[in-house]
């Protein structure tokens, strides 16, 4: 091998060694530098806490409202916030939680993708002794310890659909119904579907469920499903959606089928939803929506932050804190609007 060529081959070796040394040196220097992010508030001697807030998505108004409400609650208590959004990617969310642990946060608030994929993340927090509270989606059964704050999906859906059935009864005719379901891997979607079924049970003389549309929490899938269902059953006159965020798709399909009519107009389809977002508020104000089950985001945010602080303080906290929510409809709209988060963000 010619000398020059031999040297050329050898040349990268010192570079690699230098780089490897630099890396090792940095690693060594870094060991032990994993200091907690808790800071001394200037002159006060009080420690400022840092909380990591990891949301699976900010795709819907509900999540945005929840995210903002939690940040507001933390700011009120002078707690520093680290934010992370996983864009519906469980793997990324796991890495984000690991990052929070690395930064030594004082607590973690998390909206997981589903009940099970979050378990390794909860375990990571448990191992580091960091309290973790799950907002709106509880974890499945496991040895990992967490607290969850969640709307009572079953009860609230049942109450909402029961109100819709009352309206249906007033019409004096039998109704064909459609229910738009969420992602059935999500415990919230299951609770809402079960609430719908429980309300319909015993009222089969009045409500015949002819279509169950699986949306997987996806607007396009919801729209395609509703279009198909309305083609197959043009006489559907009762629709419940498991989330208000699907209303734009549902309304679009209803308009195409000529079925989007105001309450009191001939051909009005009894419409109900869940969440209480801004679209639902506007539809209710305009007289198209009969009722929606409102999750009390402000209650949930406050309960989440309080639970986290209680866990830090070593207090006993129930593993599930339920938000009872409320049903808003044309009859109580004026009274309940101030508590409806969707009405507030519309302002």
């Amino acid at each position: 091998m010619p000398h020059a060529q031999f040297m050329k081959r050898l040349l990268p070796i010192p570079i690699s060694i230098t780089l490897a040394s630099l890396f090792v040196a940095m690693w060594t220097a870094g060991c032990g530098s994993n200091s907690p992010t808790t800071q001394e508030a200037s002159g006060q001697g009080e420690k400022q806490l840092t909380v990591g807030v990891a949301f699976e998505t900010l795709q819907t108004e509900y999540w945005v409202a929840g995210f903002e409400a939690i940040k507001e609650q933390l700011a009120k208590r002078n707690i520093k916030v680290l934010e992370a959004i996983a864009n519906s990617d469980s793997n990324r969310q796991f890495e984000q939680i690991q990052t929070f642990v690395t930064r030594g946060v004082d607590g973690i608030i998390m909206v997981p993708k589903d009940a099970k994929t979050c378990i390794p993340s909860i375990r990571a927090a448990n191992s580091a002794g960091i309290p973790i509270v799950l907002f709106n989606r509880p974890a499945g059964e496991s040895d990992a310890k967490s607290v969850a704050v969640q709307a009572d999906n079953f009860k609230l859906s049942k109450e909402t659909v029961a109100f819709m059935i009352e309206q249906a009864r007033k019409t004096g005719t039998k109704h064909k119904a459609m229910v738009i379901m969420g992602d059935l891997g999500d415990i919230n979607a299951i609770g809402r579907r079960d609430g719908f079924d429980a309300a319909v049970k015993g009222n089969e003389d009045l409500i015949e469920v002819v279509s169950r549309v699986p949306s997987e929490w996806n607007q396009e899938k919801a729209q395609a499903g509703v279009v198909n269902a309305l083609q197959a059953h043009p006489d559907i006159s009762f629709i419940f959606t498991s989330s208000d965020f699907l209303f734009p798709s549902i309304v679009s399909a209803m308009k195409t089928a000529g079925k989007y009519k105001k309450i009191g107009e001939p051909g009005h389809v009894i419409l109900g939803g869940f969440d209480g977002d801004a679209t639902a508020y506007q539809m209710m104000k305009d007289g198209y929506l009969d009722a929606t089950g409102v999750q009390d985001v402000y209650f949930e945010a406050e309960a989440t932050v309080q639970a986290l602080l209680d866990l830090r303080g070593g207090k006993d906290v129930p593993t599930l804190i339920q938000d009872p929510g409320f049903v808003i409809h044309q009859g109580n709209m004026d009274e309940m609007t101030p508590k409806m988060w969707g009405a507030n963000i519309r302002k």
């Binding site: 690699s16 630099l22 690693w27 870094g30 994993n34 990617d89 930064r103």
Partner: protein, 316 residues
């Protein structure tokens, strides 16, 4: 000096070290042992799938179906291994059976891609894009969009314990590195990427070699799926859906050419390292997901520009 630096194949490794050194003092926890383990843990599955992509890219192709292969392998393997009415539930063969099923999925998808591209001379972009859509839909249909849990510990440990995964990935990396750089097959892959027609005239079995690269890519995606599934202790029909940018980005940043004929497994290792460092540091700096995506996009464009400049310098 600058010219030499740009031409150096260690440029990305050097950039990684400089980036690390520059950000460590300002980024809380960046250089801590725990965080370096985190970086390693997030690198491993991406590296495995990127190595398969490197084979395909060097041969002048592209495999967009790897993300859906990861998802399908994940749910098929978990259906076999899960304790919740899995095919081998409670059997001591649940883990090997699940892994075998996953690798079989990878090989099948890769074979289909390779066969369609070589037999019917269809463009790799269209074939693998279509496969991605089909396989992705199939994974969702198969599971009715539900995740699968309760996997055996012997399975999940492969992805959840970085010290178990590291030696396995290291061996795979060395094998693929030597296959590409020291074997006749490797030379054929480069030859096809440089000029497919010339390679064919020279007696290179182009069809078989191309088929091999797509099967290798499918197998790598399945192997990455084992790591991702183990890491999350659950299988999902949407697993890996968001890694395409990271995957192509890491190989391009490493220096593998999108036009074929150029690339190395070691370069891909550097590319994955650089991307993992960026991702991790920006997370630690509390930047939003969307800002991180923009930063990554900018880095990939920069890498492509440097690649272009480097090619011009080498040709001048």
């Amino acid at each position: 000096m600058v010219k030499r630096l740009i031409q150096s194949e260690y440029l990305v490794l050097l950039l990684s070290a400089v980036y690390f050194a520059a950000l460590a003092p300002f980024t809380p926890g960046f250089a801590s042992t725990g965080n370096l383990a985190n970086i390693l843990s997030s690198m491993l599955p991406l590296l495995v799938v990127a190595m398969g992509q490197t084979f395909v890219l060097i041969a002048g192709g592209i495999d967009l179906s790897v993300t859906s292969t990861i998802a399908l392998a994940s749910v098929v393997g978990a259906s076999v291994a899960t304790g919740d009415q899995g095919i081998l539930s409670g059997n001591s063969l649940a883990t090997p059976g699940g892994i075998l099923a996953m690798l079989l999925v990878g090989a099948t998808v890769g074979s289909f891609n390779g066969a369609a591209i070589t037999r019917f001379r269809m463009p790799p972009f269209i074939v693998t894009l279509t496969t991605m859509i089909f396989v992705s839909g199939f994974a969702v249909w198969l599971t009715q969009s539900k995740s699968i849990f309760n996997l055996p510990t012997t399975f999940t440990i492969l992805g959840s314990n970085v010290w178990v995964a590291l030696p396995l990935v290291a061996v795979a990396t060395l094998v693929m590195h030597f296959a590409l750089s020291r074997t006749l097959l490797g030379h054929w892959i480069y030859a096809i990427g440089h000029n497919k027609n010339a390679a064919e005239i020279s007696g290179v079995p182009v069809r078989r070699v191309l088929l091999f690269t797509y099967i290798a890519s499918g197998l790598c995606a399945a192997a990455a799926s084992i790591l991702y599934t183990g890491r999350l202790e659950s299988a999902s029909p949407v697993m890996g859906r968001n890694i395409l940018l990271d995957l192509i980005g890491a190989t391009v940043i490493g220096g593998t050419s999108l036009y074929g004929g150029k690339g190395k497994i070691l370069w891909t290792v550097y590319g994955v390292l650089f991307l993992a460092l960026i991702d991790n540091s920006l997370n630690l700096l509390n930047l939003s997901y969307f800002t991180i995506m923009m930063a990554k996009g900018a880095v990939i464009v920069m890498a492509a520009t440097i690649d272009s400049v480097r090619n011009k310098l080498l040709n001048s």
